[in-house]
Symmetry: C2
Subunit: 150 residues, 2 copies
DNA sequence: ATCAATTATTTCGATATCGAAAGAATGCGC
DNA sequence: GCGCATTCTTTCGATATCGAAATAATTGAT
């Protein structure tokens, strides 16, 4: 999408800036993760399980915005490195829960604080009220788009 | 990133909502492109060249936010389908310009209007002022993050 | 109880994407 | 003008990602 100056089409203009902002911030965070041998998806899984406890693959896939097919390989990589373990959910044996190992917990605990600080730093060009404003607008937009998805 | 309710860390909260919003809207647009046999990247190239005229690969890579290595394959696909053509830039022979063929121009001309309408529709949950507000915040954030990059 | 429909995960084959290094052309400093 | 650092594109090898089909487990209607 390419627009500029005084946008005749505000939605188009907002869309391209939204995508670029998300991409720029993510690009800023990636080297740190890469240094720890993690992709953004792998980090997302560790972080979700760290903060929410064991989750099944489907929930994780929705959480980190990837297909369940892909999540299988993401978790495979983490499991190979003994950062997480799969466990059949006893209450619904179709599900596989992903749990952190001690090693995985150590890694994500060590990584998360500086990751959060990097995000805060990237966002520091917006003041607190603006950050909340942005979050609110994105939340409404994301919910509407997700609802339209069928 | 997983937060919720009253965010203790507004930046973190804004970041996750930003990424989810961008992803949800993009996911909404993808089926239309897929039906035309285009990926988001391929569409991005056609659209950029359509609106800006011939561009060299490096500029295109920056425009659509991908690596130059990847852009080579994106343009390869488009060229194989005779939607674009490569042309050495005579003024700087290191550069390769990408131009639309008649076929490519037909395709993007036919596709773009409904694409733009789909974006407007996705954004219609925000009023005009909110869309501009969102664009402005994203623009500042994106610029700051891009500036911090190297 | 049985089986059809549903849900969760994995497998499969194909493509997209990346980072690093190689290759090609340019331009800068001298 | 010469050579070297720079810029642009491609190649290479590896991984990430996807959609569709296959597999496994559960639920629900009868």
């Amino acid at each position: 999408m390419v627009t500029g100056g005084h946008p005749r089409l505000p939605a188009l203009d907002a869309y391209i800036k939204l995508v670029r902002a998300a991409s720029s911030v993510t690009a800023l965070l990636e080297p740190r993760l890469r240094a720890a041998g993690l992709t953004t998806s792998q980090f997302g899984v560790l972080e979700a399980v760290h903060h929410l406890g064991p989750l099944c693959l489907g929930d994780l896939a929705r959480k980190i915005l990837t297909s369940s097919a892909n999540l299988t390989t993401v978790v495979d990589s983490l499991e190979r490195r003994r950062l997480v373990a799969r466990r059949r959910d006893p209450s619904d044996r179709r599900r596989t829960e992903v749990c952190l190992t001690a090693r995985g917990r150590r890694l994500i605990s060590g990584l998360f604080p500086s990751h959060a600080r990097a995000i805060e730093h990237a966002f520091s060009t917006l003041d607190d009220a603006e950050q909340r404003e942005l979050a609110g607008l994105c939340r409404r937009l994301g919910l509407a788009a997700a609802a339209a998805k069928p």
